[in-house]
Symmetry: C2
Subunit: 243 residues, 2 copies
């Protein structure tokens, strides 16, 4: 265990830089807080170092003990944190996939994180995000995943290309929209399904909607308004693995 007392320490400055997206992307690393999240990251083998102000409950070799002032600088919680972990972006081995979701401009980090959490709970294989989606390693996104980001590949992509590739692999691509769509209950279960969810205000872009094989609407009564993460939950529950 190494002790660090100075806010000017090179490592402290490096860690603090990970609060900004550009440095996270450049380094392929990010910070997480909270015992449950750190436990998930350890199980996934993504932890590089644990930073703590004192005793810490994790079985891990690389630990830095820091002052309260350093912890406060690194934490996104105004009152500081007990421990923080420095993580590498998770990577996953390729596997056969049958259920994936595509997110077209899901802007709210809470919605993005919740969709990832739900995807893992219902056994989905992959999440693809358009460039317009919230950042995966944003602190709010991570918190909303409840650790699910360490269990499923989530990739930022050119969604148009990904839709075309999935179709070539035999996936049925299913959009969700209020207009020009069939009732969700009428949808049969394809072997390989990719579900597309759109932006909170504007839904799926016309370009992506045009590429969808089918388009479904969740049946509603008068007030037709669903949060995108709720819509995602309803769809993924019905098409969960091991149904």
């Amino acid at each position: 265990m190494e002790k660090i007392n100075s806010l000017q320490n090179r490592k402290v400055k490096e860690w603090a830089s990970l609060q900004q997206k550009k440095y996270r992307d450049a380094q392929g690393r990010f910070l997480i807080e909270g015992e449950h999240l750190i436990q998930e990251a350890l199980e996934a083998g993504c932890v590089e170092a644990i930073i703590s102000t004192g005793d810490q409950p994790f079985r891990f070799d690389t630990v830095y003990e820091v002052t309260d002032a350093i912890m406060k600088k690194l934490s996104r919680n105004p009152s500081g944190a007990e421990y923080i972990a420095v993580c590498r972006f998770p990577v996953f081995p390729a596997r056969d996939e049958t259920r994936v979701i595509l997110l077209d401009g899901v802007q709210d980090p809470g919605n993005l994180g919740t969709l990832i959490r739900t995807a893992v709970s219902f056994g989905f294989d992959h999440v693809w995000c358009s460039a317009g989606c919230a950042d995966l390693y944003n602190e709010k996104t991570i918190r909303s995943t409840q650790g699910a980001l360490f269990r499923i590949p989530v990739e930022r992509t050119d969604l148009k290309n990904t839709v075309q590739e999935l179709k070539q692999k035999g996936f049925t691509v299913i959009g969700t929209a209020l207009r020009d769509s069939v009732p969700f209950a009428s949808l049969s279960v394809p072997d390989q399904a990719a579900f597309v969810f759109g932006n909170e205000g504007n839904g799926i872009t016309a370009e992506i909607l045009d590429l969808c094989d089918r388009c479904v609407r969740i049946e509603m009564d008068g007030f037709e308004s669903l949060n995108v993460a709720v819509a995602g939950g309803i769809v993924m529950y019905r098409f969960r693995k091991g149904i």
Copy 2:
């Protein structure tokens, strides 16, 4: 239309006080921002006054034109708002009810608002909240309802009493929990159903769980973790009215 230029104006001070829960509760009034929300409030007949810095698109008689400084003081948006409406707490006539939800300590305003929004979209009749739930007239809750709070009675209550009253009226009370519960898909549709959703971290309290007629779990694969608003969406979709 009345013009107000002074931050010291009595009305301005009264409106500003509505940013605090105790004054909202004492006066039975609250502020909302945004065209869509104000339109919903007007349709519900809940608007007392519209406050604007200039032209405004609403058909309503009681309008106050204020300065940018006053608007900034009243708005929860750091960059101010175009218009704000002063609303009365909505009241609803009694009606026959067959589908209701009970929220036991749903703490996050976003989750509370999203559950209300989903309840309206799926034709539910009533939302009951325990004392431990987030405040309904919190700005974040209101925003998450997307205006649904003007379409459904939402009441803060002693949940234990309400559960007992609902059972006496013939409702089947159904809790959601991971343990000691049956798969959700196995649940048949009762004529009158009350669904209970619990706190984000701890679920439903033991006291309320003991009173439930049945208890269901949403079937998940390994990573058993769902956001409460997503769980609510899955349950309410299956038991929506006009199914």
